[in-house]
């Protein structure tokens, strides 16, 4: 605020520069303030990278079993090597040697300091095919000598590397959630929109259907449907049908929200104004109504994804969703069903941590998006 002008002509108007920020930019600015949501967003981007390039990031092929390393303990990372003439600094681990107590038959592993396995970044390791097409063999972080086994997060009951399996599971678990949500989204917006926009008989029919679907408790419905999937189906087919089953109920929530918004928006003055202006119905829907609740949909979607992930995990855990040889967090948790197994190898519970972390970050992100989208919040 500058100082005052003493004499002035009331008719003189200063040209004021008006900056207009688009809706998206405003949302972004508000979102930026929410630091937890920003951090969650960054974390999720990281997860997406892991999900897209698991072959590169994971040190091993997740399906390779190795009976020499069943229930392998976690490798301790060392950085300082004092064994030689000079002190050298490089990341390495000690080789695992399995031994079985002759009396109790208990399994133990010792880490042999004499045999050091050097680790490196971007090393040449076991070959893979990115997206199943592009051959490659560079791994982000793995032993320099590709014949050596390294267990950052331990080994599972058949000697497979838990860390690699976790990484590969990210892709499946997260995408299962995504597909289900996309399906719910399409169904929800379509049916909710039709219901809200046209009203009348169509609305009633769709509403009753929604109520019906919602009265059936979710878990029994999913379990029942999933149990009906023949056990001899290939994993991909099972994966596809599981997401459909999960989406079957998910669209109802979104449809109700969309319908509610359409119903109230229909009566809004700006819609009436557009109609009076001669704008076609389709354009009214697309250009005028949709933007005003798009932000809410974004927030709803980001909160629906973790729910889907949880549901898939639960189903697979119970053996009714994805099955071996598919790899998802739920499938990984199957090996953790027995308390004694878990007592022996608690790292088998790590997929649970992964699930919880992902769900939490999506929740924070969703909260942040919802706060940013709602101008009156």
């Amino acid at each position: 605020m500058s100082g005052a002008e003493i004499a002035h002509d009331p008719d003189q108007t200063k040209k004021v520069q008006v900056f207009v920020a688009s809706q998206w930019k405003l949302m972004w600015w508000r979102f930026r303030k929410h630091r937890l949501a920003m951090a969650s967003g960054a974390f999720i981007i990281l997860l997406i990278i892991v999900a897209v390039f698991p072959e590169f990031i994971a040190p091993y092929d997740p399906t390779v079993r190795d009976p020499k390393y069943v229930y392998a303990t976690l490798h301790k990372l060392h950085f300082v090597d004092r064994s030689g003439a000079r002190i050298r600094i490089y990341p390495h681990v000690y080789a695992l040697k399995m031994s079985r107590d002759p009396v109790s038959l208990a399994l133990t592993y010792t880490q042999d300091a004499n045999e050091k396995i050097r680790l490196g970044f971007f090393v040449k390791g076991t070959p893979y095919k990115l997206f199943g097409l592009i051959p490659g063999n560079i791994h982000f972080f793995a032993p320099v000598d590709q014949s050596k086994r390294f267990f950052l997060l331990g080994g599972d009951p058949t000697g497979r590397d838990v860390f690699s399996r976790l990484i590969y599971a990210t892709r499946v678990s997260m995408s299962a959630g995504l597909l289900g949500v996309v399906l719910s989204l399409v169904l929800g917006i379509l049916l909710g929109g039709i219901s809200g926009y046209y009203g009348g008989a169509v609305d009633t029919v769709i509403q009753r259907t929604i109520e019906l679907l919602r009265s059936i408790p979710a878990i029994p419905l999913w379990l029942g449907l999933a149990a009906a999937l023949p056990p001899n189906w290939p994993p991909l087919k099972v994966y596809f049908w599981v997401t459909i089953i999960l989406a079957l109920r998910g669209w109802t929530t979104l449809a109700r929200v969309v319908r509610g918004r359409f119903l109230s928006l229909r009566e809004e003055d700006f819609v009436l104004a557009a109609r009076l202006d001669g704008v076609s119905e389709l354009r009214i829907i697309g250009r005028h109504m949709v933007p005003s609740f798009l932000s809410h949909i974004i927030a709803a979607v980001s909160l629906a994804i973790p729910q889907m992930i949880l549901n898939e995990t639960a189903l697979s855990f119970l053996g009714l969703g994805l099955r071996e040889p598919a790899i998802s967090w739920g499938v990984l948790l199957q090996s953790a069903q027995d308390v004694r197994t878990v007592g022996l190898a608690p790292w088998l519970l790590l997929p649970a941590l992964a699930v919880v972390t992902v769900v939490l970050t999506f929740n924070f992100l969703g909260d942040g998006l919802r706060d940013a989208a709602d101008p009156y919040g």
């Binding site: 019906l212 878990i219 029994p220 999933a226 973790p306 007592g343």
Partner: protein
Amino acid sequence: MLQYIMRRIVIMIPTLIAISMISFLIIQLPPGDFLTSVIARLEQQGVVLDKAAAASLRARYGLGQPMHIQYFKWITGILQGDFGQSFFWQREVSGLIWDRLGYTLVISLGTLLFTWIIAFPIGILSAVKQYSLLDYVATFFGFVGMAIPGFLLALVLMWISFAYLGVSVGGLFSPEMEEAPWSLVKFIDLLSHLWIPMVILGLSGTASLIRIMRANLLDELHKPYVVFARARGVSETKLLLKYPVRVALNPFVSTLGWMLPTLFSGSLIVATILALPTTGPLFLEALRSQDMYLAGAFVLMLSALTIVGTLISDILLAWLDPRVRYERG
């Protein structure tokens, strides 16, 4: 008010019918003429169904006849209390479910109560003392509680108590008490085991209720009618409970409708992990072994409970909120 209840009950009936059809559909889903494939599988597992029993089952359920006749036979049976036969257990389904239903109800209702008793005051305090330490702790707990699904929590808790406390948690009774007749000692034993599934089941519900209560109350706390009440001399506590809490209660109560069935469903998985003698593990086993009459009965029963639960919460809501009662549509 009575009109409202009547209206809702009348609407309930077609929904129930539709659900029974869907449950039946689920029963029919597994491919093949299902009795023969089930018999074959059972024989594989060493359970032999004698020919006479198989024939009587066929007749009873009209297998081999068109779908709608089978459905009618099933439904009329249910209305007479006959839920069908479990192939795996070779027993009447109703007997099987009945045994377990009691415990399921106890756990679910107990958890519901526990959830409410905890969530209600914490939610209120959290909103009234916004940004205080209690608020941050409650909010954090709310987030975390909602992110951890019951079955994961059950797994982790079991592991912790096994690995670090040497205690094996599971079941509703200590091994010696299982078959013992009911007594005060047995009751206390039950309570000492009951809190674990209740905590696990109740955690996410409590967390979400706290958040809902807090959010709703925050919305209401600064509204003019609250300030007006304060401006005419009503005391703070009385004011809080009579006005904003009462209004904030409405969305809270409407969540009640789905809480009970959610608890039933949620307890399914948790009960499996903790090996509780409730309906959950039985249902799961039924699904895994495609013991479909048992499974179908479960789906029907749980769905019916959902509808009843929704009805109860709708009635409660109408009783609490006059706006709902007078709404025209």
